[in-house]
Structures are given as C-alpha cells and as structure tokens.
C-alpha cells in the first residue's frame, strides 16, 4: 500500500507531464461516459476550440471503447479488462490522448505494424482508407480489430500515432497507443 506522503511524488509526476486527467483500472461503460463528461467539462473550462475539443473527446472515446470491445471479444475478466487512460498536453500545448491495455502479443504486434503503416499516409490517403473501411461488411471489419476507430483517430491527429508494446509473461503484452491532437 502506498503511503499518503507518496502521493506528493505522484502528483509532481502528473504536473511534470502536464496530465489533465488519468484513469487506471477496470473500465466500465458508465465509467467511460463519466470520464468523458469530466473531459468535456475540462476542455470547455480550458476554452479549447470546439473542433479540437471534439477531436480530443472522440479520440478518448474510440480508444477506450476499442479496449472494452477487445477485452469482451477475448473473454477477458474484469482485471484483464483494465485500461490506462491519460490525457495531457505537450510542450507545444497540443493535447495528447494515450490509452493502454493488456493484449495477446500477436494482436499487439499487428497493431504496431498497422500504426507504422498509417504513419506513411497523408490526410487524403487516410480519408480514402477510412471510407474503404466504412464500406466493409461488419464481419470482415470486426475481424481486423480496431480498424475504423484507429483510422478515425489518425485522421483527427496532427502527428502520426505512436504505439509501443511491453511484453509480459506468457502470451500477453501491454499495448500503449498515443495520439497527438
């Protein structure tokens, strides 16, 4: 158990990394909505442009709902279905939305490859890929996993998405995905 005094260093770390909002733990449908609501209020209070507030909110929703769907599709229990979500700002005052979750190593590697491929596309190519994905039958789209959501996030980002994988014991790894709005 963490000593109360340890919270100070945690707080310092949050301040240092300009973290506005973060969450770590089992994530439910209602929790996604509640955190989303807090995020909306925060962006409103910060007087973010309505378009960038939408982009930040949308990125947060797609990332966290992707995690929920992934965990459900893989039959993960409550603890394995945990998510780590962080919303921060960078040196250039851009919003950074990051989310991490436990995945099967092969799925994590596939996502890393997909993020690398998306980084090569410009806005027009991303739009074409998005429209193509949108027209795919649901079954085919579902099997690829995180297809449309990832493209949506990439289109809302001002820099290529970044992803990393930390291999854990067994077949599992922790996947981190970061979008710069």
């Amino acid at each position: 158990m963490m000593e109360a005094s340890d919270l100070y260093s945690l707080r310092e770390r949050f301040a240092d990394q300009r973290i506005l909002l973060c969450f770590n733990g089992p994530i439910s449908r209602s929790l996604i909505e509640e955190i989303g609501n807090a995020l909306k209020n925060y962006l409103h209070a910060e007087q973010a442009q309505p378009s960038s507030a939408t982009d930040v909110f949308a990125t947060y929703i797609e990332m966290s709902q992707n995690i929920r769907h992934y965990s459900a599709n893989n039959g993960y229990g409550e603890l394995e279905a945990s998510a780590t979500v962080v919303i921060a700002r960078d040196e250039a005052d851009r919003y950074i939305v990051s989310a991490g979750n436990l995945v099967e190593i092969a799925d994590g590697q596939a996502l890393i490859a997909r993020v690398a491929a998306l980084a090569l596309l410009d806005k027009a190519q991303l739009k074409a890929a998005y429209k193509e994905q949108l027209r795919k039958p649901r079954e085919a789209a579902a099997s690829t996993g995180a297809g449309l959501g990832l493209l949506d996030i990439a289109r809302r980002s001002s820099a290529p998405l970044a992803a990393s994988l930390t291999e854990l014991t067994g077949q599992r790894a922790f996947l981190s995905l970061r979008a710069t709005i």
Partner: protein, 128 residues
C-alpha cells in the same frame, strides 16, 4: 391510419430520436457514442425500412447530431444507404443536417456523408 411513431429520449451518449409516421419526419438530436449501437439504431433502421416499404410519402430526416463514434457513423451510413436506394426507386427523400457554426467538425462529418448521396442533402449552420 398507422400510428407507428418512435420516441426515444436521449441520454449522455445517445441522441433524442423522434419519428412521426404521419409527417414522414425523423429527427435525431445530440451526441451518439453508445457502446452498443445496435440497441440504439436497430429500432430506427427498422422504422425507416417500414416507412420506405409502405406507401409513397416523402421521408425527411432532420439531424442535429454533434459527435458520432465510429459505430454510430456506420449505423448512419446504413440509414443513408436505405434513403439512397429509395431515392433511386423514385421516392422523395431528403436530409437536413444543422450544425453549430463554431464547430466545423460537424459540418465536415455531414459533408462526408453527403459525398455518397445523390438525394437532396442540406447542411445548415445554426448560430443560436
């Protein structure tokens, strides 16, 4: 006379939905990002299907949708595809999408849907 109307009150993550058979108007307002879009859009899609397969009354879609998650976008695309098919079959259908002029993302979203539609599709700013 049919009284096949829909009235689904909105929530934080689901829009207000009102469908009136007698006027042929379907109105959707608000954000749409439910986790289960089938639950929300299933009844709307069936209503549109019933309406378009009976009679020849015009169908008018009035939208004030703001943010849609990608699965809501997929569901809306299904609705627009039904309208497109009905339009190709000679039915009068139209969409009017109102957006807050301060948020251009909504207009961009509406424009992308419009690209794939040949029926009347108006995208109008609101300043209130």
């Amino acid at each position: 006379m049919t009284t096949d109307n829909l009235s689904i009150p909105g929530t934080q993550s689901a829009p207000d939905i009102e469908a009136d058979w007698s006027t042929g108007q379907l109105v959707m307002k608000g954000d749409s990002y439910p986790e289960n879009t089938f639950e929300l859009f299933g009844p709307v899609i069936s209503w549109v299907d019933r309406f378009l397969t009976s009679g020849d009354q015009p169908l008018t879609l009035v939208l004030q949708l703001i943010y849609l998650n990608t699965s809501s976008i997929k569901a809306m695309m299904d609705i627009f595809d039904m309208l497109e098919a009905a339009h190709a079959g000679g039915r009068t259908v139209s969409v009017t999408w109102y957006y807050d002029s301060r948020n251009e993302r909504v207009a961009e979203l509406a424009e992308e849907f419009k690209e794939d539609c040949t029926f009347p599709f108006a995208i109008l700013p609101r300043t209130d």
